[in-house]
């Protein structure tokens, strides 16, 4: 049942039910039941009940009720597509002159049954009368107008010309003549004269606009479009309007691309564009086969292979093959054997459509190999394209494996070997190697990228970031200046230069060369944009200035920086943090005093988030001890933040800060209060468990771990992948990896090897491996665990292949034991 039909039924119920249908005095149990049946939409029962009432006593109200029940039931049946039954029911409501209770529905039933002439004749019964319901008058008038034109109803001349009905027929006659004139290709002036006879207030207004648009379309298409805009979507002429608009919008055969679905509209467009009959038939056949599906189209094209352009027919069929791969042999029989490349390509696309990712990967690899030995540029680029496609597929589907670990990266590297100039691939690989700390590959790739793309800002930025991360400040500065030379107003490059100079100033301060640090910061000021002053630069200038005795001027700069950083606790915290990072040797009393004073102001979410962001960075991680002490100085103020109404997403960076400074009690208090406020927000449970286990997932009990897995799966199912990732990251965190203690050197060799192995696999419990497999799949899990093993102490003595084998064994064991009771013992 479509919306319109539902609407009609609802209208039927609400429109039919009249509260004053039964006067109080006439209400009997039967009448009450009939009324109730109407109210509930049970019109079939209502019809029966009203018939019984009429048998008992022939009252006008029972007749009225029966007519209403018939009309409403007819609406219900029409909504189900039962137009014949609906028409029969409405016939029961017919008055002696043939008019029915719901004329629009009756006309619709007749049209749907193909009785167009009868529909037009019936609709004409209401012209110039007041027999149609008021709600239908306007629409019925237009429907009658459209039907009278389609069915060529003639005015019999017996009606008084001065009556409303007579005037309507006069308009109908003018409209018919104008339409006939256009259809016969009469001159525009003649059509215009006929159109002038049609009133813009009549039911034929839409036809006047359409014909006017059609005769002016060739010369003034904009005017024609404007005329079409005046016809509403609900109009009985809307289909014709749609066809005219399609013709206006589709020059040069554009409409053949599949935009126009209705065959009537397509026919109209082809006809007004003067397509010859023979071509029209042939094209219609082609379009019909296309809409019937690829199989039909393929068969039709094959039949035409000899009569039409053979190359185009072959190519069209070739492009259909991935959708009908079973026709491959028929194709080869007609056009000759396909090349190995094309065949693999077709099979790969067909496999993707099924979808069978394993087969798709296999066929794409064969397709690429077919072109690998070719020396043309196009072939090399094609190989690059295929391997990049494989990398994308491998990212999404673990079945696309090949024989290597980390298949997506391997495919990208392979793509780069055939198409080294593809910048997005290079950038993606750089990002991957940085994320996975593959230093050797990263250095190699950055070196090659800088040679290939010396003037590419994205590459320079990556190289700059990497140099800064390696503390190679000179190199970073050099790259930053190259970047600025390329793009002088690049705000990101300017910020990098400022950050680098601040880092260098910190180094100088640590080596007690405050004067040099001053100069470094003054240089940084030169790249600062006037409208975007850097708070960090101002703060550092102030702090360094205070140490070299610049007094009030330095303090003013410091205060300016603090204000730029947001003022209050977050501003002074940032100042104190910068002081910590440069190992300031001032007395620090100003910072301590101001930070203490600022804490009299209650915290806001923004201020706490700003502090969380300040503590999240490479430099702060390297000075975590000092940062922890600094955060402890504002602990009381942070505690007040518990009362703020945090959402899980807002709280995430704050939670990260608490984990970094190991303030698990504060984390527990925040999450407890949040869970009290919103018990349904299960993500707070993660933070509660992180706090309870002090960030060590191995301290989770089995039920707790299972609870977190369930929360993660629930989050994934609701597309909250970020939440799910947070949980998985915690469950897979290996904070204890680095806590392997050195032995005292007295153990024998075998014992030492055993200890090394145990230490390396300590955090790779079956439970954890099971979670990794569940999240990433087996292939990816092996790659992840291999990397973990390589990074562990065992990686020193284990070759890459050995680590991979061990990882595979671990995953195989876990997979084999899944289904059995989960064990925390190590099966290897």
């Amino acid at each position: 049942m479509n919306l319109g039909q539902v609407g009609r039924v609802r209208m039927g119920i609400s429109g039919v039910l009249q509260p004053d249908l039964f006067p109080e005095a006439t209400v009997t149990p039967h009448a009450t039941r009939a009324m109730e049946a109407m109210r509930l939409g049970n019109f079939r029962d209502a019809v029966k009940l009203f018939k019984q009432l009429l048998k008992q006593e022939s009252r006008p109200e029972w007749s009225e009720g029966l007519a209403q029940a018939y009309a409403a039931r007819a609406s219900q049946l029409a909504a189900k597509g039962m137009f014949e039954e609906a028409q029969i029911l409405l016939d029961n409501t017919a008055a002696p002159d043939g008019t029915v209770r719901d004329p629009l529905l009756y006309v619709q039933c007749l049209i749907k049954r193909g009785q167009h002439q009868k529909a037009a004749e019936h609709a004409l019964k209401y012209v110039g009368t007041s027999k149609a319901p008021a709600s239908q008058v306007s629409r019925l008038g237009e429907v009658t107008a459209a039907l009278s034109l389609a069915a060529s109803i003639r005015w019999d001349g017996t009606t008084d010309q001065q009556s409303e009905r007579g005037r309507w027929f006069e308009q109908a006659s003018a409209a018919q003549q104008a339409l006939a004139a256009w259809l016969e290709g009469k001159p525009h002036e003649e059509i215009d004269r006929l159109l002038a006879r049609i009133s813009l207030r009549s039911d034929f207004k839409a036809l006047r606009l359409i014909l006017k648009a059609l005769i002016s379309a060739a010369g003034d298409p904009d005017r024609a479009r404007q005329l079409m805009d005046a016809i509403p979507e609900q109009s009985a002429f809307a289909s014709l309007r749609l066809a005219v608009e399609a013709a206006l919008a589709a020059p040069a055969g554009e409409f053949l691309q599949g935009g126009i679905q209705s065959s009537r509209v397509r026919s109209f467009v082809l006809q007004v564009n003067g397509v010859a009959d023979r071509e029209f038939q042939s094209l219609t056949e082609l379009l019909k086969a296309e809409s019937d599906g690829p199989g039909s189209l393929f068969s039709l094209l094959l039949k035409q292979a000899e009569t039409r352009s053979a190359a185009d027919v072959r190519n069209a069929c070739l492009n259909l093959l991935p959708r009908v791969p079973d026709r491959l042999s028929r194709f080869e029989k007609t056009f000759g054997p396909l090349s190995e490349f094309d065949k693999s390509r077709v099979l790969a696309m067909a496999a993707e459509a099924r979808p069978d990712w394993s087969a798709a990967g296999r066929h794409w690899r064969v397709a690429a190999q077919c072109l690998e030995n070719s020396h043309t540029q196009r072939a090399k680029l094609s190989v690059g394209v295929i391997y990049r496609h494989l990398a994308e597929l491998a990212d999404r589907h673990q079945e696309i494996g090949g024989n290597e670990d980390g298949p997506a990266v391997a495919y990208l590297e392979r793509s780069r070997s055939f198409d080294p100039d593809h910048l997005p691939t290079v950038l993606r690989l750089i990002a991957h190697y940085r994320a996975t700390d593959e230093v050797e590959d990263l250095n190699r790739l950055l070196k090659e990228a800088l040679e290939l793309f010396p003037r590419e800002a994205a590459v320079l930025l990556q190289a700059l970031d990497w140099a800064a991360a390696r503390k190679d400040l000179n190199r970073a500065m050099d790259l930053a200046h190259q970047l600025l030379a390329l793009d002088p107003i690049n705000p990101l490059a300017r910020r990098r230069v400022i950050d680098l100079r601040i880092s260098r100033a910190h180094e100088l301060m640590r080596s007690k060369r405050a004067d040099q640090a001053c100069k470094e910061l003054a240089e940084a000021c030169k790249v600062e944009l006037p409208h975007a002053p850097s708070f960090a630069l101002r703060i550092n200038q102030g702090l360094v200035g205070l140490q070299v005795g610049e007094g009030q001027e330095a303090e003013a700069r410091l205060r300016e920086g603090v204000d730029l950083a947001g003022g209050g606790v977050c501003g002074w915290f940032r100042a104190a943090l910068e002081d910590v990072l440069m190992h300031g040797r001032g007395d620090g009393s100003l910072l301590r005093r101001e930070l203490a004073d600022a804490q009299k102001t209650p915290p806001t979410k923004e201020a706490i988030l700003s502090i969380a962001s300040a503590t999240d960075g490479e430099r702060t991680r390297e000075n975590m001890g000092s940062v922890v002490r600094l955060v402890s100085r504002i602990r009381g103020w942070l505690t007040k933040g518990i009362s703020l109404d945090w959402s899980v997403a807002e709280f995430q960076p704050v939670a990260k800060m608490f984990r970094q400074v190991k303030d698990y009690r504060l984390l527990a208090n925040y999450s407890k209060r949040a869970l009290d406020r919103r018990p349904g927000e299960t993500m707070w449970r993660l933070y509660q468990l992180v706090a309870r286990t002090k960030g060590d997932c191995d301290k989770l009990s089995e039920p707790e771990a299972r609870e977190l897995v369930a929360i993660a799966e629930h989050a994934s199912a609701r597309d909250r992948f970020r939440d799910a990732k947070l949980i998985w990251d915690f469950l897979e965190s290996d904070e204890n990896f680095e806590q392997v203690e050195d032995g005292d050197g007295d153990w024998d060799f075998e014992e030492r090897i055993n200890d090394l192995m145990e230490a390396s696999v300590r955090d790779l419990s079956p439970e954890r491996i099971r979670r990794i497999v569940a999240k990433h799949g087996e292939v990816e899990a092996i790659a992840i665990i291999t990397k973990k093993l390589q990074k562990s102490v065992l990686g020193v003595v284990l070759r890459d292949e050995g680590a991979r084998k061990l990882a595979k064994e671990m995953v195989d064991n876990v997979v084999a034991s899944s289904g059995r009771r989960h064990s925390r013992e190590f099966p290897w």
């Binding site: 049209i111 529909a119 459209a146 379309a217 053949l256 007004v272 094209l283």
Partner: protein
């Protein structure tokens, strides 16, 4: 306007070069400026993005199917077409009028217009 692939949208073949793609794009944008036909412009823009360099064109022709050859076959039928140079048949117009009348009889159904 629904398009199946960027080559068909532009009406160019798989071996069109950068110049041809650019020329075709500019011609289409001139004919259908974005301020007047924003949706159509979006389609042309997307097609241009998909074809603007050789790698992207290869991506569209190697790892995806296209309807270029089929479009050429269709266009051959309408080679002689000239917009609004002829009249529709009475049967076609009547069929459209009856279709419109049937839709208008349903109180809440309207024909989605372009």
């Amino acid at each position: 306007m629904v398009t199946t692939d960027p080559f068909t949208t532009f009406g160019v073949d798989e071996f069109a070069d950068d110049q041809e793609i650019k020329r075709r794009y500019l011609a289409l944008v001139r004919a259908f400026p974005p301020d007047r036909e924003p949706e159509r412009f979006q389609v042309y823009r997307a097609a241009f993005e998909a074809l603007c360099d050789e790698r992207k064109r290869l991506q569209a022709s190697v790892i995806k199917v296209n309807n270029v050859a089929l479009s050429r076959l269709k266009l051959r039928h309408v080679a002689s077409a000239k917009p609004f140079s002829a009249r529709a048949s009475k049967a076609t117009v009547c069929a459209l009028l009856i279709e419109g009348a049937a839709h208008a009889c349903s109180p809440q159904v309207s024909i989605p217009l372009t």
